[in-house]
């Protein structure tokens, strides 16, 4: 079924959404080979061409495939948590057709052979498109810069030290400055090193009550303000991942207005849950940065609706059972998030009155722009990376149905709307459910 011998697929009766052009209308779309050939309101006049495979979308949304800028694949090194095959299956089931994998693997993605390895594994897997991020500093130690130019030539899409912060201000300044030579994007998860050291949850009354060392809000704000000051001085492109605080958004907004090339993103758990999810040492709620107070959660939620946060990433951080079945302080950080990216984010549309096109923008067009990719949009001759979603299908999230190797999701039995019906990568149907027959 997965091989389409006709080489052409005609999607009829679709609600086409393309945030890049602002299109949101019923119509059809034709793909030929690996690319989009045509699309529009009256493309087929409700009848597919004879020589194409027809897929009746039944009025469901057909939009660009999602692009996730923050995935931890765990391969190489921790294949017992996740590998490229399982992550790919998980991503495709979540409607994600492209992803950036974080370099905090073992070994770290800081050399050309590791990039080559990931590219090779991605080719073998032949599923989701994988764009490796290389580390900013060797072995993510925050000391020596990596060979950014060579790594980019080999295929590094951007540079990031993943969840680790470069605590040495001079190294960070040099990284931003040096990256400019290659127009490289620097991506950081901002959290002051010393203030967050040993911390395991949001600092405050609840952490005191549970007897856990906290990570204060100010750790995030300080780091963002430092890096923005540096960026002001050096120029270059900077992206902040995992924004969790109200003040961080204010700082970034100000910098954007001042003309700095800065963008930011957050993940579904940061606008859906607050620190109360930790409850009594629930290790599934241990994430880095930590879940904050309700006030911050709301602020993140509203900032997405007000377009102050550019992108939603999955922050997919699979952890096996043994890494979570430990006392809270010893347990690993992370939530598996590829498959819940859309269902959880849809709350913004249903309860936050965010337009569907604006929501899809944050997981397709915006990340494509950030990464300079020729996907994430409906455009003739662009790769046919597409997703069909039924946003009204409500079902409970079931962990056992998740395709990720690790099922450390906090959203078990969560009543979520939205179901991915079909995912297409380079014109191939790589994921589909029984709802759509063809």
């Amino acid at each position: 079924m997965k091989n389409n011998i006709k080489n052409k697929i005609a999607f009829t009766n679709a609600r086409l959404i393309d945030p890049n052009t602002g299109l949101d209308d019923l119509g059809g779309l034709l793909i030929e080979g690996k690319t989009i050939k045509a699309f529009g309101k009256n493309l087929f006049n409700d009848r597919a061409p004879e020589n194409a495979l027809e897929i009746d979308c039944k009025g469901h949304i057909l939009c660009p495939g999602f692009i996730d800028i923050n995935t931890h694949l765990r391969e190489p090194g921790e294949e017992y948590k996740e590998n490229i095959n399982t992550a790919s299956e998980s991503a495709l089931a979540g409607g994600i057709t492209s992803l950036v994998c974080m370099p905090d693997t073992q070994p770290v993605i800081d050399q050309i052979p590791i990039i080559e390895f990931i590219k090779k594994r991605a080719r073998e897997t032949n599923g989701v498109k994988i764009f490796p991020a290389a580390s900013i500093t060797k072995n993510i130690e925050g000391k020596q810069l990596t060979e950014m130019g060579l790594l980019m030539e080999a295929g590094a899409i951007l540079f990031s030290d993943a969840n680790k912060t470069i605590s040495n201000t001079k190294v960070m300044k040099q990284a931003l400055t040096y990256a400019k030579n290659f127009g490289a994007l620097i991506m950081v998860s901002p959290q002051d090193y010393d203030l967050s050291l040993n911390g395991v949850m949001n600092g405050g009354a609840l952490a005191s009550k549970l007897g856990l060392p906290g990570i204060p809000k100010v750790a995030e704000i300080i780091q963002i303000e430092r890096d923005l000051r540096l960026l002001e001085d050096t120029g270059g492109k900077l992206h902040f991942l995992n924004i969790t605080t109200h003040e961080a958004i204010l700082a970034i907004e100000k910098a954007k207005k001042a003309g700095l090339e800065v963008t930011c993103s957050t993940a579904p758990h940061y606008f859906t849950l607050n620190e109360e999810a930790v409850d009594e040492w629930k290790t599934f709620a241990k994430v880095f940065p930590p879940l904050r107070k309700e006030k911050d959660r709301k602020s993140i939620y509203n900032s997405l609706i007000n377009n102050k946060i550019d992108i939603i990433s999955s922050h997919h951080s699979p952890q096996d059972q043994d890494s979570k079945r430990l006392p809270f302080e010893q347990a690993e950080f992370g939530i598996a998030g590829l498959e819940t990216l859309l269902p959880i984010s849809l709350d913004l549309h249903f309860n936050g009155n965010m337009k569907m096109i604006d929501l899809i923008d944050k997981i397709t067009n915006q990340p494509a722009k950030l990464l300079n990719l020729d996907t994430g949009k409906l455009k003739i001759n662009s790769p046919a990376d597409l997703t069909i979603i039924d946003i009204n299908n409500s079902n409970k999230i079931k962990l056992e149905k998740m395709k990720s190797k690790s099922k450390n999701s906090l959203f078990e039995k969560y009543n979520a709307k939205g179901k991915i019906l079909c995912t297409i990568v380079d014109g191939r149907i790589v994921f589909n459910t029984t709802e759509l027959k063809y």
Partner: protein, 388 residues
């Protein structure tokens, strides 16, 4: 009716009078009568003598406890003070009080829980708490296993939960656990069948310490409600402080917390404690001064600059104590850093401090906790059988 009760009736006496004659408490006597306990030999001889041989030892054996013990303490474990009701705390304290009244005469071994097992699982060094639990269990006739963590499988890489499951398979009745990480006893309690007692977890809680402190206060001041109690020292890193603050506020005391700002945790006011950074101010009108141990590692680095400075402003001496009420008492969970958090000579003043008394009461409170938990365990089994 127990033969001894019949004898009392015939003689138109009362349990109270008989208890006085035997020089035991009425509570003890009634326990003999319900079969919960068997009089030890010296008492037994007295009973035979008083009743002119009408009552003999055989009257005390093979009595099925008639009235099922009804606990006011309902939880299956003791994981923390938080969430306990005042009546539950009182029940634990009342029983400890009775135990003291019996113990103080001379140590007796009560075979009530013969054959039952208590496991001491200590992942942190401890002298007083571990010994105290061991002694408490032994006085109840229990078998005690002390897990030496340094030599156990934990060092061989066995996971905490696997160790707990292994212990659980040996079917102990009580597992006492101390761990340097908060929430560990709760994690174990979810996975195993026996009753878990938290003997201190990270910076979270140390419930039996708070209970024994409350007992010490109640015995000296005859109440807890309405007392003004100051807790001074490293509040931020102290599990003793957390348990005490919650317990004392639950029992109606006015709690004041005195510490330098770097050692004060966030959110204390949410518990209802008043916060002070100045000893003289905070100690005013205080009935009880609880001094906490300052961990040596906090004396370097960014918490406080030196022990000298700490003692000058936050160490308890007679001068600072003079700001409290005249009859104010001083408590310390031990071990003491003399000349750091408390003046050495003041620490030794038995008229003002309860430090050694606290240790003594520790055994009684732990006996009370063990009794309550085993009773709950038995009641649960009993109910399960009935349901089947």
């Amino acid at each position: 009716m127990h033969a001894l009760d019949k004898w009392i009736k015939e003689k138109s006496s009362s349990r109270k009078k008989l208890a006085q004659t035997l020089n035991i408490s009425t509570a003890s006597l009634s326990r003999y009568l319900t079969g919960d306990r068997i009089p030890k030999q010296s008492i037994m001889q007295k009973i035979i003598k008083v009743t002119d041989g009408n009552i003999n030892p055989s009257n005390f054996y093979n009595i099925n406890p008639t009235n099922k013990i009804t606990n006011k303490y309902n939880p299956d474990h003791l994981l923390g003070i938080e969430g306990l009701k005042p009546s539950e705390i009182s029940s634990l304290l009342d029983r400890a009080d009775e135990i003291i009244n019996e113990n103080r005469l001379e140590p007796i071994i009560n075979h009530k829980f013969k054959g039952r097992t208590l496991v001491n699982l200590f992942f942190e060094d401890s002298t007083r708490t571990k010994t105290s639990f061991e002694l408490a269990a032994k006085r109840l006739g229990m078998d005690v296993i002390n897990m030496q963590i340094a030599t156990s499988s934990i060092r061989k890489g066995e996971s905490l939960l696997d160790t707990a499951m292994t212990l659980n398979a040996m079917k102990p009745d009580i597992l006492v656990i101390r761990h340097s990480l908060s929430g560990t006893p709760h994690l174990l309690a979810n996975k195993i069948n026996c009753a878990v007692i938290n003997a201190g977890d990270g910076q979270h809680e140390h419930p039996t310490q708070a209970l024994l402190d409350a007992l010490a206060i109640r015995r000296r001041k005859n109440k807890i409600k309405g007392l003004e109690i100051a807790i001074c020292g490293d509040i931020a890193h102290s599990r003793v402080a957390r348990s005490n603050i919650i317990l004392l506020i639950t029992m109606g005391a006015k709690v004041k917390v005195i510490a330098p700002t770097t050692l004060m945790p966030q959110g204390l006011d949410e518990y209802g404690a008043k916060i002070y950074t100045n000893m003289e101010e905070g100690l005013k009108n205080t009935d009880i001064v609880m001094i906490l141990r300052l961990q040596l590692e906090r004396m370097q680095g960014s918490y406080i600059p030196s022990a000298k400075e700490y003692f000058k402003f936050y160490g308890l001496d007679r001068n600072k104590l003079s700001f409290a009420k005249k009859n104010a008492l001083v408590m310390h969970p031990g071990p003491i850093n003399r000349g750091v958090e408390i003046d050495s000579e003041l620490a030794d003043d038995i008229n003002r401090t309860l430090i050694l008394e606290q240790v003594e009461l520790g055994v009684a409170i732990r006996m009370s906790v063990i009794e309550h938990l085993i009773n709950n365990l038995d009641n649960k089994k009993h109910n399960n059988i009935n349901e089947k």
